[in-house]
Every structure is written in C-alpha cells, then in structure tokens.
C-alpha cells in the first residue's frame, strides 16, 4: 500500500509549490481581468470591458508596436550574428574554449548592471558611444534621448523625407535593440556551435570531392542541416525579446519609456499599469493575457513552420 502512494510523496513538495505559485496565478489572472481589482482588493464584475478598453487605448498599441520593432530587429540580428560567431569558432581549434567563455560573459551578468553601464555608454556628453563615433569622424548621436526614427534619421542625411509609418523604431529604441542583441549572443552562439559540431563531417568531405566551394557548402549543407537549431534559437529569442523589461526600466527616462513613449514596451506597460500611479491590476492582467496569447501564437506558428522545413 505504502509503495503505491509513496511516489506522490516524492512529487508533493514540488507539486504544491508549482500548483500554488504557477498554476493558480495563471487561472487567477483570467479572473482578475474580468473584475474591477486594485491593490486594495476585489470589486465588481466588469466582464470583458478591460479588453474592449484595450482596443481603443493608444498607449497599448504604441507599446505593442515598440515591442514588435524590438522583436523584428533583435531576432534576425541575433540569429545571423551568433551563427557567424559559431561558424568562426567551429573553424578554429586553439583557444576555442577561451573565446566561447569571453562571448558568454554578457549572458551571465545581471541585466540591471549591464543596463546601467550601457546607459552611461550612450550618454551624449560623456559616453563611450559618441566618443568612438567622433574618433572615427562621425557626428555624435542622441542615442537614448532621440525620439526620431532610425530610417527618418538615416534617409534625412540624404535630404529624403520619410512618411511617419516608415520612420522605424526611434534611435532610443534602437539603442535598446543593440543591448538586447549583445546580451543574447553568448547563449545563442553556444547553441549554434553545438549544432554545427553535430553535423557529420562526411557531408563536407563528400562535397569537397565534388568540388563545392566553402560558400556553396555553407548554403548547401550547413544552413539546411542547422535548421532545427535555428528554429530553437528563433523560438527562444522571440519569447525572451517579447519580455524585455529591465533594459527599458533602467536605461530610459525619466519618464521611463521615453523619449515620447518610443521605448515603452509591453511588459513595462503591464508593470506601469499594475504598480504605477493607477494601480489597475485588473487592466494590467488583461494586457498580460493578451501578451501571453501573442507569444503563444508565435510559438505555434514557428512550430508549424518547423515541421514544414524538416530535413
């Protein structure tokens, strides 16, 4: 008899914690979003009015757009650069471990500390970024204080005016993008390197006999065979980029999310609605659930795509 129930005793401690602190909160978040709810407690049932309010909330759409900019810029750059790093590392033997360690350092350091450091790097007067730009003969930039879009700034150099929908993410948001890519590289490089080392050498040997060039080998063998890893990196980076918070919280402002709300991302908006001035936990919970649905659908689409492109 005891043998029958004892397995549950082993699972129980973990199960209790996970049910109370993961499962119940997730169920609770639906309930909270349908009631009036603030820091002091529960109020009336308000149905889906939080969700209808979301549709006409310009701040929500702005923060969603900023988050999409973040994902669209961070994910492909992270994939291309980390694959590039991994291919380089895969082509050397000496010091491979050393470089791997160096590249991984940003990934273990706290986002709070690195955000503080990057904020000072992007400081217009005493920052390293403008110092280097000037050293190489470029004009200093406004970085985190610049609300104009990067396309607007870039094409403006050639006297071209761009319509506002083409202006792109603000330079301030672009600075956040740079930091986010920088921090993601170590992790993704390690994953890619492992994937590359998993490709059987015979493929390369065979293609060499057929006289394939290195470029041809990369596009004909490496890229297709590494695609499961690419999907993994794609998925992980997308999920984490949707959740960017610390960089925005520490690097921008005051007010946080500035200039002109161009760096306000969705998770900061959730935080601000729930714990800022309005303390509207109910509305914040509704936004969080919308974010969850978005992340979930991206994950499912990527999974679908992965099945289609399988080697």
């Amino acid at each position: 008899m005891f043998k029958k129930i004892s397995p549950y005793l082993y699972i129980l401690p973990a199960l209790i914690i996970i049910v109370i602190f993961r499962f119940i909160p997730i169920v609770l978040s639906f309930i909270i979003s349908f009631f009036e709810w603030n820091i002091n407690g529960v109020g009336q049932f308000i149905g889906i009015s939080n969700y209808t309010k979301l549709i006409s909330d310009p701040e929500f759409w702005q923060s969603l757009l900023n988050t999409f900019y973040l994902v669209i810029f961070v994910v492909p750059s992270a994939i291309i650069i980390s694959l590039f790093f991994a291919v380089l590392l895969n082509n050397v033997e000496k010091f491979r471990g050393f470089f791997r360690t160096i590249y991984y350092i940003p990934a273990v350091t706290s986002l709070v500390a690195v955000s503080i450091v990057w904020k000072i790097i992007f400081n217009q007067q005493s920052g390293l970024a403008n110092f280097l730009l000037e050293k190489f003969g470029f004009h200093p930039l406004g970085w985190l204080a610049e609300s104009r879009g990067i396309m607007e700034l870039f094409l403006g150099n050639f006297g071209i005016d761009v319509p506002s929908w083409l202006a792109g993410p603000s330079l301030a948001l672009f600075s956040i993008i740079l930091v986010t890519v920088w921090r993601s590289l170590g992790y993704n490089t390690i994953i890619y390197l492992a994937g590359l080392q998993n490709i059987p050498k015979v493929y390369y040997e065979a293609s060499e006999i057929d006289g394939a060039s290195k470029t041809r080998q990369f596009f004909g063998i490496t890229l297709p065979l590494i695609s499961p890893t690419t999907f993994y990196v794609l998925m992980m980076t997308t999920i984490t980029t949707f959740q960017v918070f610390s960089q925005v919280y520490l690097m921008t402002g005051p007010p946080i999310g500035g200039p002109l709300g161009t760096t306000k991302v969705i998770v900061y908006y959730i935080y601000d609605k729930g714990f800022g001035e309005s303390q509207n936990l109910s509305y914040a919970s509704a936004i969080a659930l919308v974010l969850f649905v978005i992340i979930l659908s991206f994950t499912l689409i990527q999974k679908k795509l992965e099945k289609k492109v399988h080697y």
Partner: protein, 326 residues
Amino acid sequence: MKSLSQIFIYTILILCGISMVIPFLWMATTAFKTQTEVNRGNVGFIPMDQYSEYNYKGELHHVKLIKVIGDSCFIHVFNEKNQIIREYAKVPTNEVKQIKKIAFHWENFKKAFQKVPFAKYFFNTIFVSISVLIGVLITSSLAAYAFARMEFFGKNTIFYLFISMMMVPQPIYLIPSYVLLNNLGWIDTYQALIVPWIANIFTIFLLRQHFKTIPQELFDAAAIDGCSRFRMLWQIVIPLSKPVISTAAVFSVIGSWNSFMWPLVMTNSESLRVLQVGLSYFSQESSSQTTLLMAASTFSILPLIILFLFAQKKIIASVASSGLKG
C-alpha cells in the same frame, strides 16, 4: 593558404571578443576615475588625473587656471578638501605646472558601497539565493527521482502540467502572484522572494534526465540488501549525480542573483532590497554620479563573473545540450 585564413579568422574572433567585453572594460576603468575627470570629457580607457599645481606659500596646491595675461595668470588655489583658499591670485604662468598622471581611485568603490546599504543588499541576495538553492535541490531531487525511477498513476499528466507551466513567461503571472502573495500577507517579506522559487521545473528535468541513466542493476542489488527507496536516493542516486547537481546549483544561483522584476514588485522596504533592486534605486537616485554607478555595477557583477569562470565548462556544456533535441 590554410594558415592565412586561420590568421584572418582569429583576427575577427579577437575583434568580436573585444566588442563583447568592451562595456565591461569601460565600466571597470571608469569606476577608477574621478567624477571631475569624467565631466571634463576624459572618456578613454585610462583613468587619469589632470590638474594644475602651484607652489603657494611653500606648499604644493591644486589650482585652477582662470585667465592668462602675458607672462602672468590668475588662479584659484585649493586646499586638500577641494575648498578655495585664495581667489584670483596673480602668479607667473611658467610656475603653474600642468600635471597629467595615471591614477586609480579605489575610493570610488568604498564610496559607492557606503552611499546606500550595499552590504545589506548583498546579504539579502546571498540569503535568498542560498535558501532558494537548498529548496530547489531538495524538491527537485525528490521529484526527479519519482519521475525517473517510479511508476504511478497520473505520472504523465503531472509531467505535462510541469512542462506547460515552464512555458509561461514570468510577466504573465506577475500580477496574479502579487494578488496571491498580498492575500497571504507575504508582500515585503523574505518568503515572497524565496518560497515561490523553491521548485524549479528546469532543474527537475535536468536531474530526471540524469537519474534515468543510472543502471537498474544498482537498484536491484540495493533492494536485495533491503535498502529502502529513500535510502537509494540518498546513497546511490545523489552521490552518482554530483556533477549534474552542481550544474543545477550554479544555474539556480545565477537565476536568483540576477532576478529583478519579481523582487522589485514584491518588496517595498529598503531593508528587504536585494542587490539588483538596490542597484536600480541607486542608479535612479545618483544618476549623475557615473563613476560611483560604474563602481557599484562592477562589484555587483564580479561575484557572478568569478562563479562563471569557475563553472564555465559545466554551464556551457549544459547550454549546448539544451539546443540539441532528440
């Protein structure tokens, strides 16, 4: 030909490596500068002191050059405490010496550490990290043992519940967790920082994978000798799994140490601030003190960088295997 391309690859690797660590180098070197230097525009990587010196009444003093008129000039003379002791002194220009020397201002670290109670923040972070670690190791080895070596009704259901919970990102359950902890009366307590984190699904999986690889014969032999199931965990499984347990431990500590959003939301009082939250408030309150901010950033990431350098082989091997499916 081969060696030429190798040199090329190494050059690129070095350049990329520099760009990955340059923020840290700049952080560390800026932490040693004086704020005056930084405000003056010394942005480079070498902490330097630049000032003018003048022998005023038989003693060398720092002075500030105001205006040069022909061979003579007007200066302000400062004492050691950087207070002006004489304004607009007219002196010969060639007796005012321009000093430029490399100087490391270690006192920035001390100043930053004392400006806000960083000692308390460190204590809180270490206390929370260790408590979470102990909890995680206990709950995870028990659960992983059951998942790996026992058959019971509902095993798969519970397993999938765990997997699906792992997929939910933290910002999603932040608000309801706050509501829950608030109802428990746990807001602004250590429990709020520790208890919800003492079960770690990732660790359960990591340990389960390893526990599965232990040969069944060992368990059979132990059973014949009358060894209980719990003793097998304690005397066979855990001793054989030391490497994977230490990997899990390192990941747990890194996670607790760097956790920010959760403690930011769940605590209010200064005495409960963990390092990341304290650092964040410090950066908002002293945003103009860049040298102190750099010093504080340096000492708050140093422990983790040291831990990483010691455990880097384990960490990298574990990350590498997480991407390889199947």
